[in-house]
């Protein structure tokens, strides 16, 4: 079956690809003829493989950043919990010392 560029871009939409990526792929495929040969299709697949890899890398990187930010929030809350605990102990010790002198 001979595939056309129009069909290729239609299928991009069918597969739920966002318009921004489609527009950029149009730039990559601007010099391709309407009727796609086997060589053209190999090139299309090679570009798509790169784009797929880039989205995969982006997903991984965003995930890593989200993890780092959430871990930081957790660690700060740990430190804030420790702060209350140590402050409470310190307050109790000082108050008891003061009271023992006054009573």
């Amino acid at each position: 079956m001979q595939l056309t560029k129009t069909q290729l871009f239609e299928e991009m939409r069918n597969q739920g690809l966002d318009e921004e990526t489609i527009t950029n792929l149009m730039t990559d495929f601007a010099d391709l003829p309407e009727e796609l040969s086997q060589t053209d299709l190999e090139r299309v697949d090679s570009v798509l493989a790169e784009v797929q890899g880039a989205h995969g890398f982006a997903a991984f990187t965003h995930g890593e950043m989200a993890d780092a930010l959430e871990n930081a929030a957790d660690k700060i809350l740990d430190a804030a919990d420790d702060y209350i605990e140590e402050s409470a102990k310190s307050t109790v010790n000082h108050v008891q010392l003061a009271q023992s002198m006054l009573e």
């Binding site: 784009v51 880039a54 990187t61 930010l69 957790d74 809350l77 402050s87 310190s90 003061a98």
Partner: protein, 364 residues
């Protein structure tokens, strides 16, 4: 090498009158006119089915290579039917399905109206088994070797569970942070209140001790001087304030170290993104990496902003009432943005993967 698609044995009889009568083996009567096939949701199974389709196409090519002049009616219709049915199913989108009638019409159209019910019966059964049971009901054949093995099924199931578990973990972590933040606020308010009351009581005792000392001085007619006990208690209170300031500074220092650690990690991530960008050739890939680069810079700038709003300590050495909340809010907000972007990128990756699968099915 053959495969028998047991579940649709008896389809031939139904095909003859095009209305349902019989039987899936061992499963009691089944109206096959109502049987529909859908594209599997499990990406691992879809990939294996795509491989299977390629394998079938290669088998056909091999046979034609051996005897390029074989007449179509002598060709293995079973195999060709499987290719057609599987190709149709893999080309379906979410919510779409293909019925037995549609599959028959499709193979008829492809083969110039020639139709072999026996071979269609087997082909449909084999493909159905692959889709619904990963080929477990087929006798013989090459099967879905990876998915068919218990180990591979376990891996596929585990992968699916891991994905679900990862999403659940992210949500749970988010909820936990939100809850911890709320609980910290309550604990801190309680601690502040209890501390205030305890020192008020100390203040009352101190006043009483001071007054007692003054009375004693009046009675003796001596010069009024501060009570030595009160002076010592004042020193204890000053020590308590110093200790509180020290603990507050320690908290701020820890928060600073944590946020600096994140900033360094983001810097390292930025370097990796630059390296990835340098290796990108396609415009569409470059744009993706550029957008990622923008996101990394934004998070990095966000960390600088977080550093500027580190917890405040007042002149008395006390941590502000909202404590770590503004910083945690900021970190949470940034984390949520990244989670959303992660999800978007995953969807796009899946779309491109689907597009490539579609191209492969077309023989590209």
């Amino acid at each position: 090498m053959t495969e028998n698609g047991n579940p649709v044995v008896g389809l031939e009889a139904q095909l003859a009158n095009s209305a349902g009568a019989e039987v899936a083996a061992g499963a009691g009567p089944e109206d096959l006119t109502k049987v529909t096939l859908k594209r599997p949701e499990d990406p691992a199974l879809v990939r294996l089915l795509e491989n299977k389709l390629r394998e079938y196409n290669q088998r056909i090519a091999e046979r034609l290579k051996d005897d390029a002049y074989q007449a179509p009616e002598e060709a293995d219709f079973d195999l060709r039917y499987r290719v057609d049915i599987l190709d149709n199913v893999l080309g379906l989108r979410n919510g779409e399905s293909i019925s037995v009638d549609q599959a028959i019409n499709s193979v008829r159209a492809k083969h110039g109206g020639v139709f072999n019910p026996d071979q269609f019966n087997n082909a449909f059964g084999v493909v159905r088994n692959y889709i619904e049971h990963a080929g477990q009901g087929n006798d013989g054949g090459t099967g879905l070797s990876e998915y068919g093995s218990a180990k591979a099924r376990n891996i596929a199931e585990a992968a699916s569970k891991i994905k679900g578990a990862a999403e659940q973990r992210a949500q749970e972590r988010q909820d936990r942070i939100t809850q911890r933040k709320g609980r910290w606020g309550e604990r801190f308010a309680k601690f502040k209140d209890a501390g205030k009351k305890a020192w008020e009581k100390v203040g009352q005792l101190k006043d009483a001790a001071g007054n007692k000392a003054k009375d004693a001085v009046r009675e003796t007619g001596q010069m009024i001087v501060d009570s030595p006990i009160v002076a010592k208690v004042d020193l204890i209170q000053a020590g308590a304030r110093a200790e509180a300031a020290k603990l507050g500074a320690k908290l701020v220092d820890t928060a600073d170290r944590v946020t600096t650690g994140v900033a360094e990690k983001i810097d390292a991530t930025g370097m990796k993104v630059e390296e990835y960008k340098a290796a990108s050739k396609a415009k569409a890939a470059e744009v993706v990496v550029d957008s990622l680069r923008g996101a990394v810079s934004k998070v990095r700038a966000g960390m600088d902003a977080v550093d500027k709003q580190l917890m405040k300590i007042d002149a008395a050495g006390e941590v502000a009432e909202d404590g770590p909340t503004p910083i945690v809010n900021r970190l949470e907000e940034k984390a949520q943005e990244q989670r959303q972007k992660q999800e978007d990128a995953t969807k796009r990756e899946r779309s491109v993967r689907g597009l490539r699968g579609w191209l492969r099915r077309l023989g590209a």
